[in-house]
């Protein structure tokens, strides 16, 4: 790859006058677009470092005159949702408690489904797969009332298991699709060889298929962490008062209707809430792109 790029560079023909202007135009346009999309983040960050007196001046683009972390501390430890003034840390903890089991199990089940569908030619596998796919197109809202009734009947409504199970179920179609497509790119001989070696369904899955799934599993982690962390609706409906995720709590903080709106605290709280998916994107952008192009990529 490197040597290719080098040799291409060495024999590169000089750009013509028109092409130079073309490049300048393209990069100017891209730069402006990038600035435009970065603007909200900039406003949020500078506002969160200002005191309320400074915010009231209304100069939203100006840098803070007196740099202060008070808004961040307040957002994390003592912002009020209703009568409860313990800050976002509670919501953060809840979100982590929801996130970890949901991500782990939805990915494991997705991998297992994908493996079974692509290697073991089960009778009716295609029908099964079509049903799963259909599931990913049905809007969430349709499921909410039946699920509420179901959880209420089984007595787990408004609890941690309820929200985790919900996330696992809703994550399954996409995860299955992702892993099935990845596995269908693997040579089927591998699986045949393992069967001759005497490996059964689970042995092949654990010893051969799972170790080969690292690239796609990373993609799956990114997708699930982002989706589950950002979820608002399911958390609000199923998690119950004690387990409300960070997004719901953020909404409660920002949307208080009494007293003065603490814009600096709101901004800090918003940035804090989006920190997890933001970090995931920044750390694993390369993998994420690969995941979008998955199917074309073989490990």
């Amino acid at each position: 790859m490197m040597s290719q790029a080098k040799s291409a560079n060495a024999s590169k023909r000089p750009l013509t006058y028109q092409e130079v202007w073309g490049r300048i135009g393209i990069y100017t346009f891209l730069g402006l677009l990038a600035l435009f999309f970065l603007l909200p983040l900039y406003v949020m960050l500078v506002t969160s470092f200002k005191s309320m007196d400074e915010v009231r001046l209304g100069l939203i683009f100006s840098l803070p005159q007196h740099f202060s972390l008070d808004a961040w501390v307040k957002a994390w430890t003592s912002a009020c949702t209703g009568l409860d003034c313990t800050g976002l840390q509670v919501g953060f903890g809840n979100s982590v408690k929801i996130l970890v089991p949901s991500v782990v199990f939805s990915i494991l089940f997705g991998a297992l489904n994908g493996y079974a569908l692509s290697f073991w030619k089960v009778k009716g596998a295609n029908v099964l797969f079509a049903c799963l796919l259909l599931g990913s197109f049905v809007p969430y809202q349709v499921f909410i009332y039946p699920l509420v009734r179901f959880y209420a009947q089984t007595g787990i409504y408004g609890s941690l298991p309820a929200i985790v199970i919900t996330h696992i179920i809703f994550g399954m179609p996409v995860m299955t699709l992702l892993f099935r497509n990845y596995y269908s790119g693997l040579p089927v001989e591998l699986f045949k060889a393992a069967r001759i070696d005497g490996a059964g369904f689970w042995k092949i899955f654990i010893s051969i298929v799972l170790p080969m799934s690292v690239p796609i599993a990373i993609v799956a982690v990114i997708m699930q962490v982002t989706a589950i962390w950002n979820d608002f609706l399911l958390g609000l409906v199923f998690a119950g008062r004690d387990n409300l995720p960070m997004t719901v709590q953020l909404n409660n903080i920002v949307n208080t209707t009494t007293g003065e709106r603490a814009y600096n605290v709101n901004m800090a709280a918003t940035v804090l809430t989006s920190l997890v998916p933001l970090t995931v994107y920044l750390v694993s952008g390369r993998w994420f792109v690969r995941g979008i192009a998955s199917g074309a990529v073989k490990g």
Binding site: K192, A193, D197
Partner: protein, 359 residues
């Protein structure tokens, strides 16, 4: 040690019959090659013998024991695939020992077997590497090793050399032949490469459309093809085919195609053939020899020559029939000149025009 017997075997995918009522017996210690063009069902047949594809009819017997529905691991087979199918996340050592570890064999025995197989295949120095750090030839050696350590009675090879370049292919071909000599196991080998088939096999089964066309020794399959398909599938450069008629001329039979005439009285016909029968003459290029002052020599006008290193393939026109024939480098054969040849009719083949079967 095992013999294999397939009885009235049928394999189909959905409504498509891949293999049709096939009977085949493979002797203990025999090297049988299934040869045929792609899509002829040879790989499917091999998979069925290995238990990886369900049969839709008939029986498979190993040593007179019915294994038609036995699990692949219980059949005592080792299989080598075209795509190597090595476990990519495991080292060579773990690839070799995977099956033994599953079987719960003790560590000392596993080490001994892996060492034995690695030495036999000269891959001892590669044991710690991952498959991705190996060349194609090395990978296929490891894949063969994986079949070896299982103490298989029957080895199944599914086009094992097709992914390798010509030089490596010849090298590993020899290796497999040596292996067969050493182990004396029953081996079933699928290929579309006639050279592999001719060099390796004790017997070749030539397949087309799920049916065995001819099952015989390599020499017989090459020299006495059972039908037109077998004749043209084997041999490189390819067999010449001329459509014409066998005519009675006094008490002899003569093959005629337009002005072209060939005395067929010395041809060993398998059945009685009447004069006037339409037939296809199959002539291998090496059976048309440069005439060295022979009386029955016929003159041809050379239209094209293709030097092939050890010999030259010439395309000549004999009384309106174009035939390719092999000439030596020093025989003085040049394009646009005439060149005298004799045709060895005893080694030729005549096929029925309608059925294509050998006369």
């Amino acid at each position: 040690m095992s013999s294999v017997s397939l009885q009235n075997l049928e394999i189909s995918y959905g409504n498509v019959a891949i293999v049709k009522s096939l009977d085949l017996t493979i002797q203990d210690g025999e090297f049988l090659v299934l040869l045929g063009p792609s899509g002829c069902g040879k790989s499917t047949l091999l998979s069925a013998i290995g238990g990886l594809v369900d049969v839709s009819g008939g029986r498979i017997l190993f040593n007179d024991k019915d294994v038609t529905w036995a699990d692949p691991k219980d059949r005592g087979i080792g299989m080598v695939f075209q795509s190597y199918a090595l476990y990519p996340t495991m080292s060579v050592e773990r690839n070799l020992s995977f099956g033994l570890r599953i079987a719960g064999i003790d560590r000392a025995t596993i080490d001994k077997k892996v060492k034995w197989a690695a030495e036999l295949l000269q891959i001892t120095h590669l044991l710690d590497r991952k498959p991705s750090a190996l060349s194609g030839g090395q990978r296929q050696r490891v894949a063969i090793g994986r079949a070896l350590v299982r103490d298989a009675d029957i080895f199944l090879f599914d086009e094992p050399l097709s992914n390798l370049d010509a030089k490596l292919r010849a090298e590993l071909r020899l290796e497999i032949k040596k292996l067969h000599k050493t182990l004396k196991s029953t081996m079933i080998y699928v290929t579309h490469d006639q050279i592999e088939a001719l060099t390796l096999a004790d017997r070749i089964a030539v397949m087309k459309d799920g049916i065995i066309q001819q099952l015989d020794t390599p020499l017989n399959v090459y020299n006495k093809p059972a039908n037109e398909f077998v004749g043209s599938f084997l041999g490189s450069p390819a067999m010449n085919k001329v459509e014409g008629q066998l005519v009675a001329d006094g008490d002899r039979l003569v093959f005629t195609a337009g002005d072209f005439r060939l005395d067929a009285s010395h041809y060993p016909f398998a059945q009685k053939v009447e004069g006037g029968r339409k037939a296809v003459l199959g002539l291998r290029p090496e059976h048309i020899l440069p005439a060295k002052g022979d009386a029955q020599a016929i003159e041809g006008k050379v239209s094209l020559i293709e030097p092939m290193g050890s010999s030259i393939l010439a395309w000549s026109n004999f009384d309106g029939v174009s035939l390719s024939h092999l000439v030596g480098q020093d025989d003085g054969c040049e394009a646009d000149r005439t060149f005298p040849v004799t045709i060895d009719v005893q080694k030729a083949s005549f096929f029925d025009v309608e059925t294509g079967w050998r006369l």
